[in-house]
C-alpha cells in the first residue's frame, strides 16, 4: 500500500510540475490542481497509513490520527477557493492580454506582425 500511495503522489507531483512549467494558463491551472491533489494526499499520509482503525477514541483498540484528516479538509477547501480564483484570473488575463500565454505576449508575435503587415499592404 505504501508503494502504491507514494508512487501515486510522485506521479501527481511530476505531472503537476510539468504542467505548471508550461507557458499557457490552462495547463498551469491544471498543473496547480494536480499539485494540490498530491499535496493533500501527502498531508493525509502524515498521520501514517493504516487499515481498519477508527479516528474516534474508544471504538477500536487502536485508532487513527484524526488531525491530518482535519488538515486535509482545510487544505481542500482553501485549494478549491484558490483554484476558482486562478481560473477566473486566467479568463480575465485571456481577455485583457489577448492571449493565454502567462507572460501576456506570444513568442511568435513577430511572425504574426509580418502576416498582418502583408495583409494590410494589398
Amino acid at each position: 500500500m505504501e508503494l502504491l500511495y507514494a508512487s501515486c503522489i510522485g506521479v501527481l507531483v511530476s505531472c503537476g510540475v510539468f504542467l505548471i512549467l508550461r507557458a499557457r494558463t490552462f495547463p498551469v491551472v491544471l498543473g496547480l490542481t494536480m499539485f494540490s491533489y498530491a499535496v493533500n494526499l501527502f498531508l493525509f499520509s502524515a498521520g501514517r497509513l493504516s487499515l481498519n482503525k477508527a479516528a474516534v477514541l474508544g471504538y477500536s483498540s487502536e485508532y487513527a490520527d484524526p488531525l491530518p484528516q482535519a488538515l486535509v479538509l482545510t487544505a481542500i477547501v482553501i485549494g478549491f477557493a484558490m483554484t476558482a480564483f486562478v481560473v477566473i484570473l486566467a479568463i480575465r488575463g485571456r481577455a485583457d492580454l489577448g492571449t493565454d500565454h502567462v507572460d501576456g505576449y506570444e513568442v511568435e508575435v513577430p511572425v504574426k506582425k509580418i502576416i498582418k503587415k502583408r495583409k494590410v499592404k494589398p
Partner: protein, 509 residues
Amino acid sequence: MSQHLIFLPILIPMLAGVMLLMSPFGKTKMNRRITSLSLGALTLLVSIILLLTVNGNGTQVYAIGDWSAPFGIVLVADPLSTILVCLTTLLGFVCTLYASSGDDDKGNFFHPLLHFLVLGVNGAFLTGDAFNLFVFFEVLLIASYSLLMHGGQKRSTRAALHYVILNLVGSAVFLIALGILYGVLGTLNMADMAQKVSLLQGDDVYLAKIGGLLLLVVFALKGALLPLHLWLPNTYASAMPVVAALFAIMTKVGIYSMMRFYTLIFGEHAGELSHVAQNWLWWLALITIMMGSIGVLASKSLSKLTANLVIVSVGTLVVLISVQTVGSSAAAIYYLVHSTLVTAALFLIADIIGRQRGHVFDRIEAGPPMLQPKLLGVCFLIAGISVIGMPPLSGFIAKVWLLKETVNINNSEIFWTIYLLASLAVLVAVTKAGSTVFWNHSNTQKDIKAESVRPRIVNSMQLVAIIILISSAPLMTLFAGSLSEYSQSAATQLHDFNNNVNVILSGGK
C-alpha cells in the same frame, strides 16, 4: 473581557469586512468610507490597548474555544507580535484614509478587501500554531490577489497572474513542509514543536531538516528573498500605489515567520537541528542586498525604486535574523518598523508626484513641474533621508544599531562592506531621483499640451495619510530610547526558549 482582547485585532477586521459587504454600511461611497475608517480606527485602538497590556503584564496566551495547547489552536501575543499587529493596523488605517480620497472608487470592494488583508496579517502575527499560520497566510493572500487587481488596469493582470501562480505553488510547498514536520514531530503547536525537535533521533532528524528548509523556501518567497524575489518589483509597481503601500507589511510576514521558526523551533535548543537555516539565510540575504541595490540604481520610476528599496530592507532584516543574537533581533525589530513605514510613505509620495506630473507620471526623467513642489519636496526629503539612513532620522539610528550588533560576528567585514556599499547606492539613487523629479523640468510641446489636463492639488486626506507615515521618522528618533528598550525586551522574549515554551503550553499562566 480583557482575556478576549487578543482575539479582537482579528475579529474586528473580519466583522468590518463582512459589514462593508452588507447593505446599510456598504451601500454608498460615503457609508463605506465612514464605516471603514471608524472600524479601522477601532482596530488600531484595540491593538494599542493590547500593546499596553502586553507591555505591562507580559505575554498573553488565548486558547481558541478553550482547547488548551498543544491540542487546540492558541493565539500568542508577545511583545514582538503585538508591535507588528500595531504596525499593521496603523498601516491599514492610513491606507484607508489615503484611499478614501478617491482611489477606492475604482472598484466596489476596496474597503472590505483591505480589512480582510489586515485580518490575515494580524492573524499570521498572532497565531501560535503552524497550520493556523498557513490558513492566515491564505486569507491574506487571497485578499492581496484581489487588491492587486483592484483598479482593473490591463498591465496589472499579467503581474497578478504571476503573483498568484507563484504563491499557489508556495502554499503547496508550505503544506508539504507542514506535513513532513507533523509526521515527524506529531504536533503543530510552535512551542510544542520547539520542544520536540530536540528529541528527534535517526532518520527523523533528516526529515525534520527537509521540512525546515522547505519552510525556508516558502518564507523566502513571501519575504522576497533572493532568488525568489523577482515577482516583487513588477507586482508592487503595477499595483495601485495605496495597495503597494499596504503590501509593505506583506513581506514582513515572511520575515516574521522566519524569525519565529528559526529562533524558536530551529534555534539554539534544537539539538542536532539547531541553526539549520542560518548559513542559507546569511548568504542569500547578502546577495539579496546586492541585487536590491543594483535594482535601486537601475530603477526608472519612483515606484520601482521603492519596490527595490523593499528588497534591500528584506535582505538587511534577514542578515540580522541569521545572526541570531538578542541584540541583532532587537535591531531587526526596530529596523522592521522603520522600513515598513518609510517605504509605505515613499509609495504614497510617488503616487502624488506621479499625479502632478502629467504624462511622465513618476518616471525619473525631466517632466513638467509639479503644482506643489515645496510640499512634496519636503515630504520626499524626509522620507528619503530616513530611507537612506542619514542623521538625524530613524533610518540612521536603525543603521548604526544594526552595524553595532554585527561587529563581533564571523564574516562581519563582508556584511559591512556590502551593506555600506548598498547604502551608498541607495543614497545615489534616491538623490538622483529626487533632483531629477523636482528640479529637472522640460517644456516640450507635449508638456504644454498636458498642462491643460493638470490634475488637482493634493487632497487633504491624502496629505494627512502621508504626514502620519513620514512623521514616524522623527517620532521614532525622539522616542528611540523607549522604542529600543521595547524591541530589546521583545527580542529577549523571542530568544528566551524555556519561558516561551512554558508560557505558551501552560496557557499563559
